[in-house]
Amino acid sequence: MALILVVDDEYLVAIMLADVLEDEGFEVVTASNGQLALDAIEVRRPDLVVTDFMMPAMTGLELAETLRADAETAQVPILLVSGAQGGIARSRPDLFDAVLDKPYQTNAMIAQIRALLN
C-alpha cells in the first residue's frame, strides 16, 4: 500500500483529502507546513507528496527544493495543488511532477496520483 504525505496548512483541506485517499486504499500522513513535512519524511519516506504552495514556516516550493536537493528524497514524486501559484509551479517541472489547480475534482486528483505512482 502506497504512503502519501499530504501537506497543507488548511486543516479541512488536508483532512478531507486524506479521507478521500484513504477510501481509495492509500495510506496517508498529513503535515500542516513544509517544515513539519520534512520532519514526517525523516520518520517514514512517502511514495508521493501532495503539497499546497502558500504555507507558514516553509512553502511548497521550498519543500520541493529541499527534497530534490537530497539524494534520499530526490526521486519522490511531488504533486502541487494550488489556487494561484499554478503558473509558478508549472515553470519548474524540475521540482513538480504535476500541478493541479484548486478547486479540483477528487477524481482528477486520484487519477493524477495513480499515474504518478505507476
Partner: protein, 473 residues
C-alpha cells in the same frame, strides 16, 4: 509638528474618517457580525497596500479554505491572483493554535512576518483565539505580543473579529484603534454602517457613516455634516445678483437671486416648481454652466416638458442633467455626487428637484436638518447659486405654511407657489417669503402657464404692493 506616517486604505471615505488612513505600525481591531464586510474590507486594504509597494501576511484561524475566500474575492476589482504567494501570502494557523496554543501562534507569526517581510499583518479570527484562551488576560497578552512584535519591525496589524456589534471586548484596550462594521435594518431596508470606535493618537471622525459593497469593493460615505468645510475660505458674501430666468421674478426679488445663495421653492405638486427651475437653467451657457440634479423626472420627461412649454433646454451646451431614481439611495453618496459635479464643472446655476429625494434616502431622519445645513453651506462655499424645490402636502389651500421651520432657517431665500380655489377655478400664485439681506416684494402675484413658460401677472393684493424690509437674521 511630527507628521504621522499613514497606511492608506485607498478607500477615500475611510481614509477621510481616519484623518488620512491607519497609523503605520499601529494595531487595529475590525469587528462586525458575519456578513458585515470585514473580510472584503481587510483584503481591499491589503491589496491596496501591495499596490503601494507593501507586503502582506494574511493569517487565518478559521477552518474555511483559502480557495473559497479567493473565489469570493474573484469578482472584486481590487483582487489580483497574480499577487498571491508573492507580495501577499495567506497562511492558516488553525492547527498550530489547536495543537500548541496561543504562545506557539505568537512565535509562528513572528517568524512568518519576517519571512514574508510583511509591512501589514491581517489576523482573521480573533474570536477563535479568544475561544482558545483560558482567561481575558491570555487574550490581552496574545494581542499585545502580536502587536508588539509587529510594531518592532514597523508592521501594521489588523485583527478581524466576529464579535457582536455592541460588544466591548477586553482586547480593545490593547489596540490603537477599533473599527466596527454594522449591517442593520432600517425599516425594510438594509443599511451598512462603519464607525471608528477608538483611534489612539489620531483624530477620527466618529459616529456612523454609511458604506456599500459593490464590484469595486467597499466605498465609505462620511456624513457630510461631520466633515471639515473644504471651500470655506473661498466663501465671501456675494453682493451681485443672478438672473432667475424670469424677469418679472427678478423684479419681485429686488434684482434677481443673490449670487451664491440657496433658494427654496416650496409648493404643492403641479404648482410650477420644476418649470421655474427650467427657466433658471435655460440661462446656462458653457461660460455659466448649469446642472439639473433631480429625482422625480427622468431626463426624457424633463426634455419633453421643456419642449412642451417652449423653454430652451441647453443640454450639452452648458447644461448637465443628473438623474438619480428614487431607489435605495445613500444620502451622503448623493451629496458627494452633487458636490463633485458642481466642483468639477464649475457649475454656476444649480437646480435641485428636489430636497425630498434626499429626504427619502435618509436612513436616519433625525440628521436631515444638519445634513441640509451642511449641504447648503458647502454650496455657498463653492459659490454656486442654487434653486431647490420642496413639495408641500396641501395641494390646494390658502394657509400654506413654510415647509419645515428648521429647513427654512438654513436657506437664504424662499419662494412659495400656491394654488387656491375660488368659484371652482384654480388660481396659482407666487410670493417671495424671504430674501436674505435684501429688499423684496412680499405680495402674492398671479402665476400662469403659457407657451414660453411661466407668466407672472399683477399683484393679488388689494392694497398697493408692499416692499418688505430687509430680513434681519
Amino acid at each position: 509638528m511630527h507628521e504621522i506616517q499613514r497606511l492608506r486604505s485607498g478607500i477615500g471615505g475611510l481614509d477621510e474618517i481616519l484623518a488620512g488612513g491607519f497609523v503605520t505600525g499601529a494595531a487595529y481591531i475590525i469587528q462586525g457580525q458575519p456578513g458585515a464586510g470585514k473580510t472584503i474590507l481587510s483584503n481591499q486594504i491589503a491589496f491596496r497596500h501591495v499596490a503601494d509597494g507593501g507586503r502582506v501576511l494574511y493569517v487565518t484561524l478559521l477552518a474555511e479554505s483559502h480557495e473559497r475566500l479567493f473565489q469570493a474575492l474573484d469578482g472584486l476589482a481590487f483582487f489580483d491572483r497574480a499577487r498571491l504567494g508573492r507580495e501577499i501570502a495567506y497562511v492558516s494557523v488553525f492547527q498550530t493554535l489547536r495543537d500548541e496554543g496561543l504562545q506557539a501562534v505568537v512565535k509562528l507569526l513572528r517568524r512568518e512576518t519576517k519571512r514574508q517581510e510583511a509591512t501589514l499583518l491581517v489576523f482573521d479570527g480573533l474570536l477563535n483565539a479568544r475561544d482558545r484562551a483560558e482567561t481575558d488576560f491570555d487574550v490581552k497578552t496574545f494581542v499585545a505580543e502580536i502587536q508588539g512584535q509587529a510594531a518592532f519591525v514597523g508592521c501594521s496589524v489588523l485583527f478581524l473579529s466576529s464579535s457582536s456589534v455592541r460588544d466591548i471586548s477586553p482586547e480593545h484596550t490593547m489596540v490603537d484603534g477599533v473599527i466596527e462594521l454594522d449591517h442593520t435594518l432600517v425599516g425594510v431596508r438594509a443599511v451598512r454602517q462603519i464607525q471608528v470606535r477608538k483611534s489612539r493618537g489620531s483624530r477620527a471622525i466618529g459616529g456612523l457613516h454609511e458604506f456599500e459593497i459593490s464590484d469595486d469593493g467597499i466605498s465609505v460615505y462620511p456624513r457630510i455634516e461631520s466633515l471639515p468645510r473644504r471651500d470655506a475660505a473661498n466663501a465671501d458674501v456675494a453682493t451681485t445678483r443672478l438672473a432667475s430666468g424670469l424677469p418679472q421674478l427678478d423684479e419681485l426679488l429686488g434684482g434677481g437671486l443673490p449670487t451664491g445663495s440657496v433658494t427654496l421653492i416650496g409648493g404643492p405638486t403641479g404648482s410650477g416648481k420644476t418649470t421655474l427651475g427650467l427657466h433658471f437653467l435655460a440661462r446656462s451657457t458653457p461660460a455659466e454652466p448649469g446642472l439639473y440634479f433631480g429625482f422625480f423626472e427622468t431626463p426624457a420627461r424633463l426634455r419633453a416638458k421643456a419642449t412642451a412649454l417652449g423653454i430652451p433646454f441647453p443640454e450639452g451646451e452648458g447644461l448637465t442633467v443628473l438623474w438619480s431614481p428614487l431607489t435605495e439611495n445613500i444620502l451622503d453618496k448623493l451629496a458627494g455626487e452633487l458636490l463633485d459635479q458642481v466642483r468639477a464643472q464649475g457649475v454656476r446655476r444649480l437646480f435641485i428637484d428636489g430636497f425630498g429625494g434626499f429626504e427619502r434616502a435618509a436612513a436616519h431622519r433625525s440628521r436631515l436638518i444638519e445634513f441640509f445645513a451642511s449641504l447648503a453651506d458647502q454650496l455657498r462655499d463653492i459659490g454656486v447659486t442654487t434653486l431647490a424645490t420642496w413639495e408641500v402636502r396641501e395641494i390646494v389651500g390658502t394657509d400654506v405654511t413654510a415647509p419645515a421651520r428648521e429647513i427654512s432657517a438654513i436657506l437664504d431665500n424662499m419662494i412659495l407657489l400656491r394654488q387656491t380655489e375660488a368659484d371652482h377655478r384654480l388660481t396659482r400664485s407666487i410670493s417671495i417669503q424671504k430674501v436674505r439681506d435684501g429688499h423684496f416684494d412680499a405680495s402674492a402675484h398671479a402665476l400662469d402657464f403659457a407657451y414660453g413658460g411661466l407668466v407672472i401677472n399683477g399683484s393679488l393684493s388689494r392694497v398697493s404692493p408692499v416692499v418688505a424690509p430687509a430680513a434681519i437674521d
